[in-house]
Amino acid sequence: MKILVCISQVPDTTTKIAFSDNNSTFNTAGVTFIINPYDEWYALVRALELKESGAATTVNLVTVGKADAEPVIRKALALGGDEAIRIDADSTDPYVVAAQIAEYAKSEGYDLVLCGKESIDYNNGSTGAMLAELLDMNFIGFASSLSIEGGVATVKREIEGGEETDTCALPLVVSCQKGMAEARIPNMRGIMAARTKPLKVVPAAAISPLTAIVSYDLPPAKTGVKLIDPNNMDELVELLHTQAKVI
């Protein structure tokens, strides 16, 4: 069984978000990029577990991005995986990302494609399902556990107001969230090995974006907290009703 794990690079969560060029560009000056947590802790680690248990033969990593995405995919390789593929395309439109991965993956015979439930920068949560459509595969989103037996996947996933266990024959695209695996820390051996693992650069296919970001803005700053006397909870309740209008 061949697994492909989709890895996106995102700003570290502690990043202070700022924009430049008249609020039209995300200002990356001084920003540290990390592997999208859902991709790292859940999708990648589960893929590695499946390989360690003998269920999978190959785990490859793919990212859509320009050369600046390479340090992050190398970091992902330090956790494990056989080879990394970087598709040399811009990654701002979710359709372009999915279509680029689909172009590459369609002739590679992957049985299972794992991605994160969403990337913490653009919060689309769209790539996995789009990719499934473009590869004509089934898709199960928000999975918290995944096992494979005899070419059939058993997946536990979130649904409206609960949880569901599904089965589906491979090939399949699954988006992963908490529960799927325990986070791992790369060790020295992994980091050394990652340096010599292949990182293939695939040229971008000709795919036009269907959306364009026009501008960014920051939410209005909180006007400051209103402190309430701990002995006057009646006042808090009244404010929640009359001022905040939430109860």
Binding site: N123, E133, I159, E160, L210, K222, A244
Partner: protein
């Protein structure tokens, strides 16, 4: 060239967020000088579907195949695409929830439509079709222009208040030629959270951190949640220490929620925690440390011991409810 919208339901009953989606679609239709067709999948009764007219759907296309009672991304996609084609839809609207996230990216890819996931404002059609959405986990907004001919937008639930109107709707059956492969994902077991309010959809949430001291104190927090009709949540260390189940943990590695009210009791307000909750409309923080970072993100703050403040707040809610009934 109408606007179509998926009206999600559970066993035939429509939720508030479905009305919200229809109302949102009606706003778009009005700006474009057209009308709204709602799509209903699976078993639903006529009188329930009639309600959809009150929020702006002038027509309902009902795909009454019972296999659609469970979410199935492929089959839902086929039905929505069939509806879009029948109506010549230029805009397809859904919700940014677990159903919408499985279905609409597929619909968008099939229609080669640009998509904005998680819209928080009505599209601006003055020049182009510009939709505002949250990015960086609530730390900013992006305005995104959809440049393709057909457009897909999913609305962040709880963005707008719903207003019930007078309209009526015409229900029409739509037959879709499903194949076996559309139902290749098979449901083996469903477990719904019953009794309590599911966290992801809750409008009010009471959440506890390490400041709660231990699982034995959680009934204090649950009392407040019960009084408010709120869901309960927690910080990550609380789930890691098994004080609370992991599905309650919110933040960067847990769930992302956007309730109207988030009450944080004994939570310090680390950035990874905030990432999951700072989309909340109103935040109340209870912490004994006046320097706790969470106060910076709060609308209302109470400096005090949670174990004392929470019962007082519960009492105050009780009293207030009694005087407002």
């Amino acid at each position: 060239m109408s606007v179509i919208v998926l009206a999600e339901h559970q066993q035939g009953s429509f939720k508030k967020k479905s009305f919200e989606a229809i109302q949102y679609a009606a706003g778009i239709a009005q700006a474009m000088g057209t009308s709204v067709t709602a799509v209903v999948l699976g078993n639903a009764g006529d009188s329930e579907m009639q309600q959809l007219g009150q929020y702006g759907a002038t027509k309902v296309l009902h795909v009454a195949d019972a296999r659609l009672d469970n979410l199935n991304a492929r089959a839902y996609t086929k039905a929505l695409v069939a509806a879009a084609e029948k109506e010549g839809a230029k805009v397809v609207v859904g919700l940014h929830d677990v159903t919408g996230k499985a279905v609409f990216p597929r619909v968008a890819a099939r229609l080669k439509a640009g998509m904005v996931a998680g819209a928080v404002a009505q599209p601006d059609t003055a020049s182009g079709f510009v939709v505002k959405k949250t990015v960086f986990s609530g730390k900013a907004f992006a305005s995104v222009n959809i440049t393709s001919d057909v457009k897909v937008v999913t609305l962040m639930p709880n963005t707008f208040a719903v207003k019930k109107g007078e309209g009526s709707t015409a229900v029409e059956k739509l037959e879709v030629a499903f194949e076996d492969k559309d139902f290749a994902v098979q449901v083996k077991e469903v477990s719904k959270v019953t009794g309590t309010v599911p966290l992801a959809e809750a409008e009010l949430v009471v959440s506890g951190g390490r400041g709660m001291k231990g699982p034995e104190n959680w009934h204090i927090l649950e009392d407040l949640a019960k009084e408010l009709g709120a869901a309960t949540a927690c910080s990550r260390p609380v789930a890691d220490s098994h004080w609370r189940p992991h599905h309650e943990h919110v933040g960067q590695t847990g769930g992302t929620i956007r309730p109207n009210l988030y009450i944080a009791a004994g939570i310090s307000g680390a950035i990874q925690h905030l990432a999951g909750v700072n989309g909340s409309k109103t935040i109340v923080v209870i912490n004994k440390d006046p320097e706790a970072p969470f106060f910076k993100a709060a609308d209302y703050g109470v400096v005090g011991d949670v174990l004392e403040v929470l019962p007082k707040l519960t009492e105050a809610v009780k009293k207030w409810k009694a005087s407002h009934n």
